[in-house]
Assembly symmetry: C2
Homo-oligomer: 389 residues x 2
């Protein structure tokens, strides 16, 4: 990649309602988001050269693997190449990245990158067990560590080292619901209070119910094109300035720190360097707030706030739409919902809407550069993308 960017732009976006979609399965959700993105882009099906789909748990939650072919089949896009990528909760972001790389390789001109997860057709215990497979099954899940328990340990350590408080974490949830209340696609489009978060049921101390993102069905899709092709379809393509990805140990006990995600810091540094920008240039970011503590880690790892200052910054409103750096205008995973494989793509959809000025009641004032930060598991994968008008 050069400092001019990836040479790839987003020319169309679409997403389904996020929530409990009892009347739709994996294929209906994915096709709905894909068709919306195709219509938004104004491309014809035969113009699309390939499909990349992010999905974590089709196998365990719906009995369906081979998700790439499922998408091309259901969407009438065969015989084009269709590839599923999986990196737990970062599956969507990685699908976006592989799609970008396939265009950079000269292999494709126009690619659809989608993400989908169908989580509500099974019982909650099965969902919890399945999500445990995003962390280290042999060394964490097998000993009873659920996903909230892992993030609870990170939260405890952050509180110990930096004095972060439960109220500061609660402020993340309150802010994200404030944004989600203005997002018609959000699973929970209503506001909440600090008191409501603090009094919600304990899940894994110090995390309470309203510190946790929900179990969600949903899908999202973007249409990508090489820059010169993009101009034929759109007067307002969103340029992807950079794409960067990094990995880390699956298990928390193998990491040097519990209070930062090394993969996020690596990916962010590379993404900034390649885009030729710094954290100060970012006008808005969609970050991976699977738990409130995760957003605090994210805004520190991305360099928006000094280490240890993510909690106070959140409590002081610096991440609101009116603050220094608006975070999760979509409502984030917390209020918009977290259909695991779709989340990374939904982030790109929200950034695109904001940069195009189409974000409705939650529209920021003329943002120019956006960033998305998508985390897999408890931080073993992170992928960062930077976008501009």
């Amino acid at each position: 990649m050069t400092s001019k960017g990836t040479g790839v732009s987003i020319i169309g976006v679409g997403m389904t309602q996020f929530g409990e979609c009892w009347d739709k399965g994996l294929r209906e959700l994915m096709a709905e988001a894909g068709v919306k993105a195709i219509i938004d882009a104004g491309v014809d099906g035969p113009d699309i050269d390939a499909v990349y789909g992010g999905n974590m748990s089709g196998g365990r939650l719906s009995g369906q693997e081979h998700i790439g072919a499922l998408i091309s089949d259901q969407s009438g896009l065969t015989p084009i190449p269709a590839t599923r990528v999986e990196a737990a909760c970062a599956s969507g972001g990685l699908a976006l990245r592989q799609a970008i790389l396939s265009i950079m390789a000269g292999e494709h001109d126009i690619v659809i990158a989608g993400g989908v997860e169908k989580m509500n057709d099974v019982g909650m215990s099965q969902v919890t067990t399945t999500l445990g497979g995003a962390a280290d099954t042999d060394w964490e899940a097998a000993f009873g560590a659920t996903f909230p328990a892992l993030y609870a340990m990170m939260a405890k350590r952050h509180m110990h080292e930096y004095g972060t408080t439960e109220e500061q974490m609660a402020a993340v949830a309150v802010k994200n619901h404030e944004n989600g209340a203005k997002n018609p696609y959000a699973q929970y489009p209503f506001e909440i209070t600090i008191e409501k978060v603090m009094k919600s049921s304990p899940i894994a101390t110090p995390l309470k119910l309203f510190d946790c993102s929900p179990v969600t069905d949903g899908a999202a899709a973007v249409i990508l094109a090489r820059d010169d092709v993009a101009k034929k379809y759109s007067d307002s393509p969103i340029k992807i300035l950079s794409s960067a990805q990094a990995s880390d140990a699956l298990a928390l006990h193998d990491r040097a720190s519990l209070t930062e995600l090394r993969a996020a810091k690596f990916a962010a540094k590379k993404a900034y360097d390649r885009a030729g920008v710094t954290s100060k240039d970012i006008d808005l970011a969609e970050v991976h707030d699977c738990f409130t503590i995760a957003e605090i880690l994210a805004i520190e790892d991305l360099g928006f706030f000094p280490k240890g200052q993510g909690g106070p910054a959140s409590a002081e409103g610096k991440t609101k739409r009116t603050g220094e750096i608006p975070i999760n205008t979509s409502g984030g995973l917390k209020a918009c919902g977290h259909p695991v494989g779709a989340t990374g793509i939904k982030q790109a959809v929200e950034i695109s809407w904001q940069l195009r000025g189409e974000a409705g009641g939650r529209q920021l004032e003329n943002p120019e550069i956006g960033l998305s930060h998508n985390v897999g598991g408890s931080g073993a994968t992170c992928v960062v993308h930077i976008y501009s008008k």
Copy 2:
């Protein structure tokens, strides 16, 4: 891709013993194959820029998703990008392809592409149910169609249309066991007879036990490098001339024909065109013989034999090591084994060994161009690669 090839070469290969590996899990298998490939290439770990891993069923068979990070973690390769791709039984071939594209994109110089499956830690009924997720769960598996049943329908139709016989299908298994007997990595390194196949237990008529590939644990890995980088590490890099992928309907009833795989024909045509060769130029091929009928379809779809002649050609010995076009010198999925996500990579390993003259007792006489053909599900994905010395 230009007619000069992809610009990417294989500089190292490795695989584990295929079989029932009771003392090794997903991570141990993958790391063993990866380390063998790294040693074979003579690269240092820090020289590797990214990991691509093919795996179908880590989630359902081992409770572990997030397989990319698992590989980079276990192999000490963090923080490099690590990505899992899944397309059922074509997961390995797609991992190879995505790794190639990432180098073509200018994103990476040296990449490890691996595949792994751990299938024997659960009961056979769970394996059968899980493999059903490679086909259409809602419209095939839900109505009781197992994977052998789908291929049995294809076999029946091929018998009806072209007069293919059960003995001709048996000849495929006999030939693959003949090759597998000379492969020290094979799960079943012994010869069998037509009579033994014909008298084996019925699985889904007309397919019998010895028409079916087995349930296998195993892993395989290749190290890929951009051509100019490859020269620094190897005097005998294997050039990847082309990579092509296609998709088709997941369910058999949505396809125009039961006696050919449209995705295979599309991918093969593109792979031949890009490599600037025809089927006549291929000196050996590893094809996807998950069932004996699948090899017959493959050698027809790839253009080695006219439609309907795959059965007689197999019975007449034209696909033996001494025949017109040696097919599955490794022993194929049938005798070498079929650890689902590893198979596509194992095919590249075998082709590399043959082109390097390192295939031991099954070595062909100075082959120059090889082809691999990796199928997902009952044909909804196919990926074809062409290699040369």
